[in-house]
């Protein structure tokens, strides 16, 4: 058994592409090896900004011998056919075997194929990787047509401690030698390094100021960030996405703390943090009470002879320039009220077919005012103000520079203008929740505006038939739908979805009602996805959605009551009885080629069990209706439970398929009645398991 080590050394690979690249590298090489019959023990990939590396262990020195069989013509086939077969398989007749088959005696060409040396297979695998590794964006350089993410400079390929040697040529004019050479850190250790094993590779790289393992780099960085913060009595602002990115920008992380000029600390924290992280990749430090401290942490890629003095001074200077921009915007933006900016939303396109942002604001305001009636505690005037101002920060300098501050800056500017705190908060919160883990607004004004914004988008895009398909969801409508669901459920809003959709559609003059016919079922699908993640059975949702899909809170209560009911003996048995009834009914309906068996004729009920079941169904039906209306779902289930002994006795004592045709029809109709009575509460037919 032996190891394989591969390293692809290139110019700097974009940080965001690195994780995916090594997953693909691992998969492609693994597929090639397995495809060639090579079994291995482990395979592990690594990435730094300049290199992709793969270490495969437990490889044999050659692939196993195999036997290749090829079926030919019958032995009494015309000579031409046999000749053709021999030509195609490259054998003479005495090298072939005769075998008995159901079609008579047939010629078989049987050839043993010797295994191939592993290095040969590895060399081919490297060629495949160069041709197939799927970069999100790739490029050509120099005079060749070969594409890679950035210029690829060298390939180290070691099997059993020895360079594979030879070359790969992904295209005719681009050739790589498969060597045992690599390079260390670009500045700290640029000399060539000869490598004899994976351990040797990893250790020599470390000595040459390259930390191969990405997770180790992350740990190094974060530990140091915490130490530096602690030294000043501060704590780092958690930022896993930034940590991921920064670990992809350095081969040798060196972490420094630096200062933010006090002059900038009057600018809102979010703006400072965004300016630091989005352009400069700096970590923010917080005081113990969670406020931004006038410090930041930077991660350099090199050690310097002055202990980082020039690096820190340089980065502080860059940040001053960045923040003076941010401060400039903060000062400028506050010279005009948010309200005075609303007309300029005419200049921003919402969507080519759906008009500009000022139109969106008008629609959201109208819809939010309607929705506010169903949001307890929502002050209509504040809902209207918040709606009007919600998008106004899009035309401020700060949001123009840092789009991710939309909403957040609006809140600050609204407070500066003396708007009510509920209005300001609603401006900040109306984009939320942005996904399943984002905080969901609870303040009434925020809830109304957030719902209106999302529903307006859903209905608008539905009206122009721009719906999500497969993985394509350019307008994030699935996220909007989930937002609607969370806003309604987490705030227990009693809202008719169809009613709200119709109100939203009325704001798009000329859009026909049919365009949003399937929007409720889209919401139902998203609800299923969301509840499935929380462990709620999607079949129960289907069962309930069929009878009440319009009010999500009620729907969920009913699902919960149903789940509890099915866990009881009565519930489980009633489900069995329901299925039995439904099955008989279906089979007999098919036999008779009819859709249903009409209504129950009371006079034709003969046996006591029939009569008492009929009575019980009537009673249950009458008892369930008012309970459903008052959403006493558990009570409704309890009423259903009372049916169980009657149904059981009926099946025990009564022959449904009686000889008398009318009697049979009447009993089948009675079965339908069982189903119909239960279906009032939930469609048990949708329940699985």
């Amino acid at each position: 058994m032996a190891d394989f080590l591969l390293e692809l050394l290139s110019e700097e690979i974009p940080a965001r592409m690195q994780a995916r690249a090594i997953t693909d590298l691992d998969r492609l090489v693994g597929d090639e090896l397995r495809g060639a019959g090579l079994i291995f023990e482990t395979s592990e990939a690594h990435v730094t900004p300049r290199r992709l590396a793969l270490h495969v262990t437990g490889l044999p020195h050659a692939s196993p011998d195999t036997v290749e069989e090829r079926k030919g013509p019958r032995i009494d086939a015309p000579e031409k056919a046999i000749e053709g077969f021999l030509k195609a398989s490259g054998l003479t007749l005495d090298q072939c075997e005769q075998r008995e088959t159901p079609k008579g005696k047939v010629w078989f060409a049987v050839r043993s194929v010797p295994g191939r040396p592993t290095p040969e297979i590895l060399t081919e695998a490297i060629g495949t990787v160069l041709a197939k590794l799927p970069w999100p964006k790739s490029m050509r350089w120099g005079e060749s047509a070969f594409r890679w993410v950035r210029p690829l400079h060298g390939i180290l390929a070691l099997f059993d401690g020895v360079a594979l040697g030879g070359t790969v040529e992904p295209v005719a004019d681009r050739r790589y030698v498969l060597s045992d050479l690599t390079q260390g850190h670009r500045f700290l250790a640029p000399a060539p390094i000869t490598v004899t094993s994976f351990a040797d590779y990893r250790d020599k790289l470390r000595a040459a100021s390259v930390i191969l393992d990405r997770d180790e780099r992350k740990t190094m960085i974060w530990q140091r960030v915490e130490e530096l913060a602690e030294a000043e009595g501060l704590m780092p602002r958690d930022d896993p996405a930034l940590l991921d990115e920064v670990a992809g920008l350095v081969e040798y992380p060196v972490v420094y703390a630096a200062r933010i000029d006090e002059a900038f600390m009057s600018v809102p924290d979010e703006a400072l943090i965004t300016a630091m992280r989005s352009h400069q990749k700096y970590f923010a430090l917080l005081t113990q009470d969670g406020k931004l401290a006038p410090r930041f942490v930077l991660v350099a890629n090199t050690e310097t002879s002055d202990g980082g003095a020039a690096v820190v001074a340089g980065n502080e200077r860059v940040l001053r320039a960045r923040l003076s921009d941010a401060k400039f915007f903060w000062d400028q933006d506050r010279q005009h009220s948010l309200g005075s900016r609303v007309p300029r939303l005419k200049q921003i396109t919402f969507h080519d077919k759906l008009g500009t942002m000022d139109g969106k604001v008008d629609r959201v305001e109208a819809l939010a005012a309607t929705i506010a009636h169903d949001v307890p505690g929502a002050d209509i005037d504040r809902v209207r103000s918040a709606s009007r101002l919600a998008k106004a920060d899009l035309v401020t300098g700060m949001v123009g520079e840092f789009p991710e501050l939309q909403g957040i800056m609006g809140r600050y500017y609204a407070l500066e203008d003396g708007e009510h705190a509920e209005v300001a908060d609603a401006i900040a919160d109306h984009y939320a929740p942005l996904g399943p883990n984002d905080q969901c607004p609870t303040a009434p004004v925020s809830v109304a505006v957030a719902l209106a914004d999302k529903i307006d988008s859903l209905v608008g895009f539905w009206s122009i038939d721009e719906k999500p398909t497969g993985s394509r969801d350019p307008y994030a409508l699935r996220r909007a739908a989930l937002g609607v669901i969370r806003l309604i459920l987490e705030n227990k809003l009693r809202l008719s979805l169809r009613g709200v959709f119709a109100a939203a559609l009325a704001n798009y003059p000329g859009a026909p009602d049919e365009t949003i016919a399937d929007l409720p079922s889209f919401i139902a699908d998203r609800l299923k996805v969301s509840l499935r993640e929380q462990g709620v059975r999607h079949d129960l949702i289907d069962a309930v959605f069929a009878v009440s899909g319009d009010d999500l809170v009620s729907l969920l209560n009913r699902v919960e009551a149903l789940r509890e009911f099915l866990d009881t003996d009565d519930g489980a048995n009633l489900l069995v009885a329901y299925r039995r009834a439904a099955n008989i009914e279906r089979i007999e309906a098919k036999k008779d080629k009819v859709n249903d068996f009409g209504i129950v004729d009371e006079g034709s009920l003969r046996e006591a069990e029939e009569k008492s079941l009929w009575d019980a169904l009537g009673k249950t039906g009458r008892a369930v209706q008012p309970l459903l209306e008052t959403e006493a779902f558990t009570g409704a289930m309890a009423e259903l439970a009372k049916l169980r002994p009657q149904v059981d006795r009926f099946f025990d004592a009564v022959t449904v398929n009686a000889d008398d045709a009318e009697l049979r029809r009447n009993r089948l109709a009675l079965l339908s009645e069982i189903r119909a009575t239960i279906d009032q509460v939930a469609h048990f037919s949708a329940i699985e398991g």
Partner: protein
Amino acid sequence: MTTRPAIADPPGSFQEIILRLQSFWAERGCVVLQPYDMEMGAGTFHPATTLRALGPEREWNCAYVQPSRRPTDGRYGENPNRLQHYYQFQVMMKPSPADSQGLYLDSLYALGIDPGLHDIRFVEDDWESPTLGAWGLGWEVWCDGMEVTQFTYFQQVGGIECDPVPVELTYGLERLAMYILDKENVYDLPFNAPGGNGAKTYGDVFLRSEREFSAYNFELADAPTLFQHFKDAEAACTALIEARKALPAYDQCIKASHLFNLLDARGVISVVERQAYIGRVRNLARQCCEIWLDAA
């Protein structure tokens, strides 16, 4: 061990940085050109880059300073970092040399930037010019967190695939100079050797120009006239394309592009129209590139 030239002493003035870069790239076989005599938004617009990136010869190395006009970036001389007129130092090498990064780093060493003291990084930044129909992949080069150069392997220009592929280096000279000469305000940069007779700062040379041109760009430029000029340039370009004279046609395309930038600064082009104007300039650029290659 790769040998690198020793780190030079830092230059003492803005113009010395230009002189160093010129002689550095001249020594490496570049044709050192002078600025193109038209207003343009970036050094890439110079025909020595745009057209020569495509042909006719397979090998073309050039370097030049290009004044770049960005009317919307004007700040009346009041922002220490933003200018409506600034200088780019532009290098294009075709085909891109195998060690493009190394060559580039050598140029930083020639400017006295020592990787033993500074953190130099290549951070993903893909470049695109919608008006030129051009794009490429590369990085912004960081020195201690400061973007000092745009480094791009051109893939397409004028909608045409580049073959061979050129590498383009664009040094933002003012920003680089502020870093090297340790100034926080662009106007404080020593333009020539400081201290002596005739010593001038960047502000001595350009402050008045920034003030007056900001006023022109934002307030005084006459929109109807500019719209007319745009139409005229577009018409002239189209006529010259018809006559298959690539270089004069391309001059008119440069003109149209700058007029669009001025109109944009005046705030008279709406968001929707903006895309349409960019499309019109790109269409001109594409045709200029096509006849440049055809007529070669």
